[in-house]
Amino acid sequence: RGPGSARPQPLEPSLLRFLVCPLSKRPLRYEEATNELINEELGIAYPIIDGIPNMIPEAARTTQKKPPAEGLKQP
């Protein structure tokens, strides 16, 4: 089952109170259209799969053309 499965489960709304970007610890914006949590500053988007936000930096996609500057840790 991939992230593009038929009806993406929405995020538990109360989580938005606590969740921040694990790298910058700054707030995130919930994008309903793509079901992602966006860090505008760093230009990365964390996917929400089956209602579970994936907050591992390595799993995030970049929202801009160029990749983020800092080196990411290996999983």
Partner: protein, 303 residues
Amino acid sequence: RALLVRRGGALRALCGSVRGLAAGQETHFGFQTVTEAERREKIYQVFESVAKKYDIMNDSMTLGIHRVWKDILMHKMNPSPGTLLLDVAGGTGDIAFRFINYVRSVRERQLQRKLKHHQNLSWQEISESYQEDKFKSLGDSQVVVCDINKEMLKVGKQKAQHLGYSEGLSWVLGNAEELPFDDDKFDVYTIAFGIRNVTRIDLALQEAYRVLKPGGRFLCLEFSHVSNPLLSRLYDLYSFQVIPVLGEVIAGDWKSYQYLVESIRRFPPQEELKAMIEDAGFLKVDYQNLNLGIVAIHSGFKL
């Protein structure tokens, strides 16, 4: 033999720290020496492999006693309704479900006591008060389960659905060393049988400190060290002779359970872990041995 391994390991780690910049810091995976990156990967694979049989294996290996340890942790926590709990490495939900049960029963007793005082009210008034409390059967308590392993979370979420847990429970895929939570948010942070698998324990402890509210409590339930020589020998025998075999028979996975047993031996003993917790800034750090040190609960406060 274990002492030699430990000393050898420490020496290797020292050399590793000089050489280790390209391949990543050297560390251990059970009794093997690996880079940090390799360790993370191997541990991820262990839990990916055992996820579906995790609960059964826990029951088999500990003869069900792990349930008692977790119950003791919950009683020690003694959460009141309205508590915000972050359960890290909480994968299959054991601690989270116990938390929900606990605050629910505390809440029920609160409501019962409240109703007793309503002897002189009309039926209308009583039913109204019942209704507003009905939507707060947990009294605003919440638990966030955070785990780095997708498979473990998947099992946890399925269990929750199966057992009927939904209110006040949420799941996040995240790294204990780099938590995706804001500062000063949680009343309690727990990590049960998880910290042993974290590669940089110091970072995980710092993150635990960061996300806790002032006054918040850190609780760690983990395998520890047995000082009693007779029990220690029996425990070693059981660990190295029985557990990997159980792993093979029940989960078809000898290696993962070999890792488990080795990782317990590699993990810092009670006093050393206490010092690490204090280094992260926690105060009034203490520990309680269960079963003569087979397991220990460490506790600290952010004050």
